[in-house]
């Protein structure tokens, strides 16, 4: 299957900020934090369309997200995921003795994925509690 | 719980206000006050024989709380590692040497026999922060001096010659942000610095405002006097930390001489940490002490008081609202530097410093402070401070007291300082040694009087029962010849009593009390108050980034809020 090597950044988006205030269990929040914004040419290179699912895999973990064509013109090979539980499936625990994990700048491979592989937030964690 | 009655028996009492100079007598305490007598059978009896009984220390100028102190704390974790204080059954934990944490500050002062400490430089916009830190500074009565020297409203009222409104604005401000006294720091110079400019001499107009520092000093001095505030205008003069700046200091003092008017004897200006402001010379290579010029002026005039800002050879942190001074200092030393400018009001700078005996400039500074202390005749005009932490930490006060009382102690250190500095000083020719009473005047009786605290600084009936007992027997310890023993005795109180409760015993805090926060509530005419409020409402939104209602501090945020009401003449 086609795959690319990319650098993953996570960060604040207005949608994530609004979704967060609307409640972490809201669909709005889940939708806001489970996207992977990519350069349009990177999406094309994966032979998929914006909105199709992609799997990202790093040395620390893997996660399936909905792809989106970034309107923010990142350089090719840079992908952006809003802060939250999805992005954090991909990052390592090291802080370089600073307290701060590397939330921006982890290397990942990205490849097409099927919608059935997408997990809801509660499925990322095996909790007994209901939301 | 009502504090219990206490009787302190057979102590050697020193109380300069009431002209008691080492008399063996009993002091009775009831309901937080000093009283004539109490029923001995139901009172706690403290045997103070062979010990001195004093009013608790009153510090007129010590940077213990607020945004700049906290920035100092965050800047310098290494400062904290020198002093780590674990939690005890009574005390919260804490750290810090030159910028101690708040609980530690309260405990350390209290264990040294101090009961009142005033924080001398606060940006009004950040006063809620200052108050909140003071709430967390136990053991002490406290108050704040908001900064006015570079305030836009002040400069505009002055430019428009609206002196009544200026006075009413000052009253509004103190009441709104819960300040006690008026502080000026480098008037005009900090506003200039906000464009990268410099501190200015007194007659250079402030950029964009068309008023001079002299006008600000005179206008504010006048306003404070007309408001009948408990403490006179407290000023950190222009050109601080500059060779030859003694002339600016004298000009500053002289600029308000007329304002004292018939009130001769009641000072209208307090020039703070003079040590930093009375240098001779024209550059750092030929820097000299200008203490004799200042002393001559102070000895001949009664409208001014000072505190010293003595330096102590140590690694400490300088911090001041005088942003441009700290910028120059970091340029010279290359040390870490914090700057913090505050909209429409003031600035702030912080630079760590290590005062070294071998350093010519530092030695001159040390000499200058001591010369000023010794050359001014009347101790009621001189407050002993280190401008904590600028000259040294407050915990070094006993060392400074020893220098004042012992020529031997001074000489021992003079022998070790930079030789070129030593060759230029008159210090070695000064034979004066403070008496113990004179030390007490400059550390409590005089400071309390200058602050308008009638119930503090003495042990007369009706005074607050803020009392320090030190293990100092003058039959055994002569401060002049055994200064180290004297110092040790003053470092830790055997007892500290705060508002009639024993809070320190054998140099250790045994009970934590919150202390109170004083602020000035000056009543001006209703018309004037309304005019000023209307002016402020018009401009507030333009000048500030907060709403006026959120700028005003509600009393509920203050632990033991204690307004001091005065009637203004406007």
């Amino acid at each position: 299957m086609t795959s690319l090597q990319v650098t993953v950044l996570s960060g604040r988006t207005l949608r994530q900020g609004v979704g967060k205030e609307a409640g972490k269990t809201s669909d709005r929040y889940r939708t806001a934090v489970s996207v992977c914004e990519m350069h349009p040419e990177d999406i094309a290179a994966l032979l998929i369309k914006p909105g199709d699912y992609v799997r990202l895999t790093t040395a620390y973990g893997t996660v399936v997200l909905k792809s989106a064509s970034s309107n923010q013109f990142p350089r090719r090979g840079v992908v952006y995921i809003p802060y939250g539980p999805y992005a954090n499936q991909l990052f390592g625990p090291d802080t370089d003795s600073s307290g701060m994990p590397t939330f921006k700048g982890t290397i990942a491979t990205v490849e097409p994925a099927g919608p059935e592989q997408f997990k809801k937030i509660e499925e990322l964690f095996d909790a007994e509690a209901k939301i | 719980m009502t504090p219990q009655n206490i009787i302190i028996k057979n102590g050697t009492v020193f109380d300069p206000v009431n002209r008691i100079d080492g008399e063996v007598m009993d002091i009775a305490v009831s309901n937080g006050k000093i009283v004539e007598r109490v029923n001995e059978s139901s009172a706690i009896v403290i045997d103070a024989s062979g010990k001195v009984v004093l009013a608790g220390g009153v510090d007129i100028h010590s940077h213990i709380a607020g945004p700049k102190v906290n920035m100092g704390r965050i800047l310098r974790p290494e400062d904290h590692y020198r002093n780590l204080k674990p939690k005890t059954a009574v005390k919260r934990s804490g750290v810090g040497t030159s910028c101690p944490s708040t609980f530690t500050t309260g405990y350390d002062y209290s264990e040294m026999g101090y009961t009142t400490v005033f924080e001398p430089a606060n940006p009004p916009l950040k006063m809620l922060h200052v108050i909140d830190e003071l709430n967390d500074t136990p053991m002490l009565d406290k108050a704040c001096y908001p900064l006015f020297g570079n305030n836009w409203h002040v400069m505009e009222y002055l430019k428009d010659n609206r002196h009544d409104e200026l006075a009413a604005y000052v009253a509004w401000m103190l009441k709104s942000v819960k300040g006690y006294a008026v502080k000026l720091v480098n008037p005009g110079g900090v506003e200039n610095w906000k464009w990268g400019g410099e501190t200015t001499p007194l007659d250079e107009p402030v950029k964009h405002f068309d008023v001079t520092p002299r006008q600000i000093i005179q206008g504010m001095c006048n306003a404070v006097k007309r408001l009948n505030l408990p403490h006179q205008m407290h000023i950190h003069a222009n050109m601080l930390g500059t060779p030859g700046n003694y002339e600016t200091a004298l000009e500053t003092l002289d600029s308000v001489r007329q304002i004292a008017g018939a009130n001769d004897g009641k000072p209208v200006i307090h020039l703070t940490h003079v040590q930093f402001n009375i240098y001779g010379g024209t550059n750092w290579m030929n820097l000299s002490s200008g203490a004799e010029h200042l002393a001559k002026y102070i000895n001949n005039h009664n409208h001014a008081s000072i505190d010293i800002g003595q330096i102590v050879f140590s690694d400490t942190t300088t911090m001041t609202a005088d942003g441009p001074f700290e910028f120059k200092l970091q340029g010279m030393t290359g040390a870490r530097w914090i700057n913090g400018d505050i909209e429409a009001e003031t600035g702030c700078g912080i630079v760590p410093i290590h005062y070294k005996k071998s350093n010519y400039v530092h030695a001159i500074m040390w000499i200058t402070g001591l010369e000023a202390s010794l050359m001014i005749d009347d101790p009621w005009k001189v407050c002993m401070t280190t401008d904590h932490p600028n000259g040294g930490y407050f915990t070094t006060y006993p060392r400074v007291m020893a220098w004042l009382m012992s020529k031997k102690a001074r000489q021992k250190l003079t022998n070790k300082v930079n030789k070129r500095a030593r060759s230029k000083t008159a210090l070695e020719s000064l034979d004066r040694e403070y008496t113990f009473s004179e030390v007490l005047i400059s550390t409590r009786a005089g400071t309390a009087r200058l602050l308008g605290l009638k119930n503090k600084g003495h042990l007369g009936v009706g005074a607050d029962a803020d009392i320090a007992i030190h293990d100092l027997d003058f039959r055994k310890i002569d401060p002049s010849t055994t200064p180290r023993k004297f110092r040790k005795a003053m470092q830790k109180a055997v007892y500290t009593i705060k508002d009639g409760e024993i809070v320190v015993k054998d140099g250790e805090v045994v009970k934590s009390v919150p202390g109170r926060i004083y602020w000035a509530d000056a009543k001006v005419s209703d018309d004037l108050a309304r005019t000023v409020e209307t002016d402020l409402r018009q401009k507030f939104q333009d000048y500030y980034t907060v709403q006026m209602s959120n700028y005003i501090i509600a009393e509920k945020h203050i632990v033991n809020s204690t307004p001091v009401r005065v009637n203004a003449e406007v």
Partner: protein
Amino acid sequence: MQTYQDVVCTVCGCLCDDIEVDVDGNKVMKARNACAMGTSKFLSYTHDRIETPMVRKNGSTQPANLDEAVTKVAEMLVNAKYPAIYGLALSSCEAVKVAIELTEEVGGVMDNQSVVCHGPGVLGLHEIGVSTCSLGEIKHRADLIICWGCNPDEAHPRHFERYSYTAKGRWRNGKADRKLVVVDVRQTSTARKADKFVQIDQGKDYELVNALRTALRNEQIQQEKVAGVPVEDIEELAELLRNAEFGVILFGLGVTQTVGKGRNIDGLFSLTRDLNKYTKFQIMPARGHFNVNGVNEVSAWQTGFPYGIDFSHGYPWYNPGETTVTDIVRRGENDAMLVIASDPIAHFPKDLANRIRKSPLAAIDPVHSVTTLVADVVIPSAFAGIECEGIAYRMDGVALPLKKVVEPSQGVLSDEDILKKILGKVRELKGRSG
């Protein structure tokens, strides 16, 4: 209907204090002047609330009463050798004070969200210091605003209008009198508003900062590009900085969370210091959570240290990278965690989230979060600034009073009061065992 004036918004570090809140029958109807995030918070604060305390029994969490939950948390803390107490950036300073006392009492470690946001800025500050100011200084004087790795348009939506680019100040009439430069990896919506956008290679901030410092000293840069930016552009930017009358750098997580971390900020602080030789220049972190600055301030004055405070020796101790909660969790050292008004399970890297879950976990929060979803004890709390009062610190250190505009649900307490109950219980338990 009642209208509350001058309400402080409790979303981001801007702490906009001009919100007008209409309340009808204990329900917020409208929040005027607020941005999209602020409006969402004021209008949606009732959504997704935790209804009752929950305690894990036989594997699953069940409703419990408050005393039972408080006792559980107290027992968890007393039985732990090295508990971590974490969060509070979305709470009041009053709660922070109790949390510090509680951590001191149990000899644990207390940390807050700055460890994963602007903590590296503190590391830079230890090295260099910082030249900064209150927001009004920017509003009145700044003719050059640099957004470096921050995106106020999305993260601090009213920053420009109230404090900076488009604000009307004494000497600057909005954006006509100012230039905006954005340095970022992406062309964010903030970048699209900029007069100059410098697109930088990811992870190369430190290189670009130092190239700028080099150019400022008029020294030759021996390369064609640094951090993906042509040297001519760097030299032009250096000129722009030098020629500003009053410049300010606003920086965000784009520089704190990427490679270099504290070193990037150390570089930016040094650049600002260098610039003050030529002109007036300031720098300020664009703080995210509304009171993350307040946690730093209160922690600093009570303990000497702004975050990552270890009380296991009895006194406060601090060394980021060692005493920070992320590192303690990574090494598996803590044996319990109490989270207040934070969601580390969602916002920490997966490995850390999993490690947190290996030991007892309690959460105090008004709303469900990923952390409350997996916690062993959950206690619902009131929203600071909506349902209870308190003090919070704006990103520039201005303290503001939070208002209570509605009553919390019956039995729901503030973080402060819940923590006081826990502290009381801890002391009771320790008294019993000791």
